[in-house]
């Protein structure tokens, strides 16, 4: 590992952060626009053309807003919680391949540059592990706020995430079972090689993943942690300014992450499996475009659902997670295992 490689890694990190932050900003914009359209409104349209600078304006506003720290909070944890949320949200992206690797010559050395921070052979597990850490941000924020609404919001979100994580994990294991690898690249390559995205082979797993992903990100209709009518603003009731913005960012980055994961695992990642049978491998910038398109599609789905479906009751949510999703995902896993075992003979 020489200096150049280190530099490349650093650059990747920078790019990821930058892209994600921008992505976050425009996801909010997208959401506002889409929801507005669905509600027969225009949405933001003042800042810049079509309101495209609105996210920047929001960012400036949040940054300069006063940070109010309530009395009685556990300051350390209070400060830590949003950072945890944010960091965890970004970290999951580290294993996401967004394009095929390219080779460049830097300083006389031929190097392969991957459009991916790191590829583990346990990448999927890593993602699961990181997403399971997302709970901490919420719980700690709720607890540190020294506010009952915040705490209950935090605990609720935590319970919700823990519950749905299980179904999600099992659903993803079905995918792993089909592919035979935990590596993201392997999964994408497998889909390309077979010429069809996994959503075709594992529709049930995809469905479960989609539902649990919404729950994991605390989006409507599973947005209990911030159920305004019951809990004011949930775990971030006591957060203002930039700290609140961090939670906000984390939520949207999480959305992007799970969308990216959905794209990678079920939709063929940065490839177009069916199309590439005829076109051959596409260049890297097309790959990125394909990936972005898929992510945006998934995000649109998120927003669409939010605009469409009303919030569930909390106990129904938990019951749904434990009594419906988990059994279905387990059954799916078992079925998959049997089929694979059968085919393997």
């Amino acid at each position: 590992m020489d200096a150049i490689e280190l530099g490349i890694v650093a650059l990747k990190c920078l790019v990821i952060v930058a892209v994600l932050l921008t992505g976050f900003a425009y996801t909010t914009f997208l959401e506002r626009k889409v929801i507005a359209r669905m509600q027969q409104r225009l949405g933001p349209n003042r800042a810049g053309p079509f309101g495209l600078l609105q996210p920047a304006a929001d960012g400036v506003k949040l940054i300069f807003k006063e940070n109010i720290t309530p009395v009685g909070v556990d300051r350390f944890v209070y400060f830590l919680a949003p950072i945890v949320s944010m960091v965890v949200a970004i970290m999951a992206f580290a294993v996401m391949p967004v394009a095929d690797p390219i080779t460049v010559t830097i300083g006389g050395q031929v190097r392969e540059i991957r459009f991916q921070l790191a590829d583990f052979n346990v990448a999927l597990l890593y993602v699961l592990g990181i997403t399971s850490l997302a709970v901490y941000g919420l719980v700690l924020a709720g607890w540190a706020s020294n506010n009952k609404f915040a705490l209950i919001g935090g605990l609720r979100s935590a319970a919700q995430m823990v519950s749905y994580e299980l179904a999600m994990g099992v659903a993803l294991v079905s995918v792993v079972l089909v592919v035979g690898s935990l590596s993201m690249n392997d999964i994408v390559d497998w889909q390309v090689a077979k010429g069809l995205p996994l959503i075709v082979l594992q529709p049930v797993a995809f469905g479960i993943y989609a539902i649990t992903a919404i729950a994991e990100t605390n989006r409507a209709p599973f947005d209990f942690p911030e159920a305004e009518q019951e809990l004011v603003a949930g775990y971030h009731t006591e957060y203002t300014g930039m700290r609140f913005a961090l939670f906000f960012m984390a939520e949207y980055i999480n959305m992007i992450t799970v969308s990216g994961l959905a794209a990678t695992l079920f939709l063929g990642g940065h490839h177009l499996p069916f199309v590439e049978r005829f076109t051959g491998n596409l260049p890297w910038f097309v790959d990125i475009g394909v990936f972005l398109a898929k992510v945006i599609l998934a995000l649109f789905l998120f927003i669409w659902i939010r605009a469409t479906i009303p919030r569930l009751r909390y106990d129904r949510l938990m019951a749904f997670g434990w009594k419906v999703l988990l059994p279905i995902s387990l059954a799916n896993l078992a079925l998959t295992a049997v089929v694979i075992a059968f085919l393997a003979r």
Partner: protein
Amino acid sequence: MSGLDPAFLIVGALAIVTAVGMILAKNVVHSALFMVAHFGLTAVLYLLLSAPFLAAAQLIVYAGAIMVLVLFVVMLLGRQEALLDEPIVGQRWLALAALGVLGAALVRVAALGVPAAPEGGTAVVPPAFGSPAAMGDALYTQWVLPFEVVSLVLLVAMIGAVVIAHFQRRPRNEKAGNPAIAADATEIPSPRA
């Protein structure tokens, strides 16, 4: 081979710092956070020690499940006062002395290291070593019986936890096996005294 590897040095030092922080923190939540950090660092250590699968498992099980559970319980139990006085006479000093000796002895033993691989090939660790595939192979062939037994142990522990925590005098709604539900029914703790 000589000298301390910088990544290991950093991670190890952080692991020690977080461990010490865990046992010294006055607030239980802080302790738990230190612990989470420590487990995360341990996962990195596993990565450094060619155990990527274990690293992920460590992250998921310890950081993702166990410590969340601990945090839940901490919050469930509410205010935790730091108990600074020592009611057992001499416990502190005796413990420190004994721990000093024990630690010194353990470190001394550890410094001896371990013999290298029987084949003598110390330098090259095969890339598949510790991969999920290798682990799965080991777990489902050689260790399949212990694996099943362990899963049974988990089941028993789950039932046991439910039984132990499920007091009759609590309302029906509360199921300690699922702390999320229990959390709603309890008094609200506060982080500060």
